[in-house]
Amino acid sequence: MRGSILDATGVGLVRCVTAAGGGLLWRGSGLWQAAARVRKAFVWLLLPGLGLAELAAHVWLAARAPRESEWRELARAVLAEKRPGEPVVVAPAWADPFAREAFGDRAFPLDELARSDDATFTRLLEVSALGARYEPARSWRVVSEAQHGRFTLRVLENPAPLRVRYRFSEHVNPRELSVELVAGTQVVPCEYNEHAPVAAGGLHGEVAFPRERFVCGGMPASASFVGVTVIDDQNYEPRRCIWAAPPAGFTLRLVFSGVPLGSALRGFAGLSYFLFRDSDAAPVTLEAASDGVPLGGYVHRDAWGFHPFRIATAANAGRTARVELALHAGETPQRDFCFTLEALE
């Protein structure tokens, strides 16, 4: 094994003369043995090679993602591009806190950040790092694209946005909404309070109860208000919605005045997914009516998470009407229902 490759090849050549099979010519040669030795050495050298390759990969990967300071440097460009009603989306999604810290609340109004979905938005401003894309809008048209350091800013256009005439969550105020609890002949009015005590239950507790809300007298705190808050959906994403939890034995009635109706009412509804993901409690029913005429309804089950629904209003299209929403869940307590609703064109 210690002979030179040439010596060995000489021996191999002699073998060539006597060997019968073509394959044996090569396999019997010293060249083969030398090559085998190189291969063998190479195989064992793979191990330290792997060690060094892993070290190099670690160094490269550790420096790959943009740092907090780079997000801050991007703020000016993002805020220059940001238009009202055009949400900022971040890809990869896990980098979103950097974007919120760097760009501030101006770039992330809560109704945009915790929107139900993208269907009603005409445009999005995508902030992309590491080559990631915002997948729900992958098929949207790229209106503009600009590189800023390690980021790409893209304005994306929705090919078929739904046109919204009225967003119910923007009208949760005493001028446009009245709230009451009804049980048979008993009617409990819910008064609007701009300075109600803010509450939040932590991980296992209630969602945040906002300062401005309708408070229903005589009810336990968790079942006594209507107001706008944020719940977690089945992917633990934020969803801004109108909290309207019907107390056991009561129907919670919300009456919105001056609603311009169109083809349909489009909504989403859910309970905090973390709290109710394994609940099989009685469903919550939402019934909609316009000036006393039933429009339709939706029955929600807890395990669905934040779930879409639609109520046709084509027969009332073009009318501005009073819309009554009646919510009830029978005798089941703690139906922490939260919903969004939009009147589509």
């Binding site: 191990l47 060690g51 420096a63 790959r64 806190p97 919120r100 939040a200 932590g202 945040a208 944020v230």
Partner: protein
């Protein structure tokens, strides 16, 4: 490279140096690591035991009556007492009485670190005995330089402690089993009692020994090998009989209502609550446990070179077992394989309650590293042969190969600190890759440690800080050690707080949403991040915000 043989005096010196070196590294880096949730609970239990020390000093034997034992040993009684007692002793004597350790938290952490160092030292000794000196060093350092092991070795928790106890008890058992000397046989039984008093993983240990014995005897029979150890496995019998007795003696909680309390101990862990755990983009919170969880998380958190050496060693070990390469070797390798397999087994069952992260199979890692040592020895021998064909000084091959294999784990481990639970290996794409894959970024609320400067700077005097996943007892450790201003109170009430911490896990996001509504902002004022991945962040009310 030396051949396998019983450790010599110099080996004990090397083992001591490795263990002491690791301990020094842990002590030197402890300050920057935040206090985890479980550390808060264990140190609370330890503080209560420190009060019991006073009771013992003042009341003498009365401190051992039922009333006192029930009162002082009750906190966190779902875990046995040894580590809590060691935490208490360390804090009481090394911080309170003689201020040898400046930080209260570090004093509580010291016993865990010592056991981490002990594991490294014993790994060397066992690797030296079974494989050789360089392989022993490599085994010990591969273990020490697992980023998750390094993280957990800092903590006043039970996971590295039980890992060390499993390893040490296994090593002592094998010697007792093989040599069958009375002292060693009794000694391993006593040691198992301490192992039982560490954490409930110890319940699996006798099963591991039975499997080992059966496998060993079968291999000896079929490969016609001489029998290792006596016909009657006295060491195993000692483990089974003496161990539980020792547990009863050293865990006072069991002195009263023994059977009821033992049953409660078992029931607590066998019917453990399901935790939420993010894995590949999904949060698991009820059975079945994803079967791939343990293998994928091992691949994603243990350096690839360690796993490659392990794979090679596993091949070599398997070959040796099939060939029947000497009963001594078979006895070692079989115990390693059983220790590895038994430590992983619960996490391969879909009915196992979903727990936290990789810490639950840490006891497998020393055995993984011992087998990796075999892989190293094989590669080293082959490369040495090939080197010797062409070049001088083939004796350089093992240390050079060791250095090349250990450079990556060393760099990764040092870089992972103090973000041990956010660290992922290049196989997962590092921390950013793991975040994109949807692997857990943090748990236990320890990342508060990365935001202490901002907290101290932004908080008004006597402010309340919402601590989120940081236990209030852990917050107290931060304050006690001066890492957080003494006037800042931790609170679990978001509305009454001025600043709010958020430690990211998907199922906890609802807490962040609550913060948005209560504080009226979605923009954090500071973020604790690792390699460009946000891990924990801080919210402030309007009047405190920088912008």
């Amino acid at each position: 490279m030396s051949t396998p043989s019983r450790p010599e005096r110099s080996d004990f010196a090397i083992a001591g140096a490795l263990g002491a070196g690791y301990l020094a590294l842990l002590l030197g880096s402890a300050h920057s690591l935040g206090y985890t949730r479980d550390e808060g609970f264990y140190t609370y239990a330890a503080r209560v035991l420190e009060l019991w020390f006073d009771r013992v000093a003042n009341a003498g034997s009365a401190a051992f009556d039922r009333t006192n034992i029930d009162h002082f040993w009750n906190p966190i009684h779902e875990h046995p007492g040894l580590l809590k007692l060691l935490f208490a002793l360390s804090h009481h004597f090394l911080h309170e009485r003689w201020p040898l350790i400046g930080e209260s938290g570090t004093a509580y952490r010291l016993p865990g670190m010592l056991l981490g160092g002990l594991a490294v030292a014993v790994l060397y000794l066992w690797g030296r005995e079974a494989v050789g000196r360089t392989a022993g060093v490599v085994s010990a350092l591969l273990f020490a330089l697992m980023p998750r092991v390094f993280f957990h070795s800092h903590l006043a928790c039970l996971d590295v402690a039980v890992t060390a106890m499993w390893l040490v008890t296994s090593y002592v058992y094998l010697r007792a089993f093989r040599d069958n000397r009375l002292g060693a046989v009794l000694g391993v039984g006593v040691l198992y009692g301490f192992f039982l008093d560490t954490k409930h993983n110890a319940w699996l240990f006798p099963f591991a020994l039975v499997v080992h014995l059966v496998a060993l005897r079968l291999l000896e029979r079929f490969r016609k090998l001489p029998r290792t150890g006596p016909r009657v496995p006295w060491a195993l019998l000692s483990v089974i009989s003496v161990g539980p007795l020792v547990l009863w003696v050293i865990w006072p909680w069991l002195w009263f209502d023994t059977s009821e309390r033992v049953r409660a101990w078992f029931e607590f862990h066998l019917q453990h609550d399901y935790y939420n755990m993010e894995f590949l983009g999904r949060t698991y919170w009820k059975p079945p446990m994803p079967a791939l969880y343990a293998p994928v998380m091992t691949l994603a958190t243990v350096p690839a070179i360690t796993l490659a050496l392990f794979a090679l060693g596993l091949f070599e070990t398997g070959r040796a077992l099939v060939r029947g390469d000497g009963s001594e070797r078979v006895a070692h390798d079989a115990l390693w394989l059983v220790g590895l397999g038994l430590s992983y087994a619960p996490w391969l069952s879909q009915s196992t309650p979903i727990f936290g992260g990789t810490k639950h199979w840490l006891p497998a890692y020393p055995f993984l590293c011992l087998i990796a040592g075999r892989g190293f020895a094989l590669a080293s021998a082959r490369l040495r042969e090939l080197w010797a064909e062409r070049f001088q000084k083939p004796e350089l091959v093992p240390p050079v190969l060791a250095a090349l294999c250990l450079a990556g784990p060393l760099a990764m481990t040092l870089h992972s600190h103090p973000w041990g639970l956010t660290f992922y290996t290049p196989l997962a794409g590092g921390a950013p890759g793991a975040a994109s894959l949807g692997l857990n970024r943090t748990f236990w609320g320890y990342a508060t440690g990365a935001l202490t400067d901002e907290l101290n700077e932004l908080a008004p005097p006597n402010a309340a800080v919402y601590v989120h996943d940081t236990a209030l007892q852990s917050w107290e450790l931060f304050r006690e050690d001066g890492r957080i201003r003494a006037d800042l109170a931790g609170t679990l009430s978001l509305p009454s707080s001025s600043l709010a911490l958020y430690h990211h896990e998907p199922h906890m996001r609802r807490v962040e949403f609550e913060t948005w509504v209560v504080y009226g902002t979605v923009s954090p004022v500071a973020i604790g991040s690792y390699d460009g991945v946000p891990v924990a962040w801080l919210y402030a009310r309007d009047e405190l915000r920088r912008r």
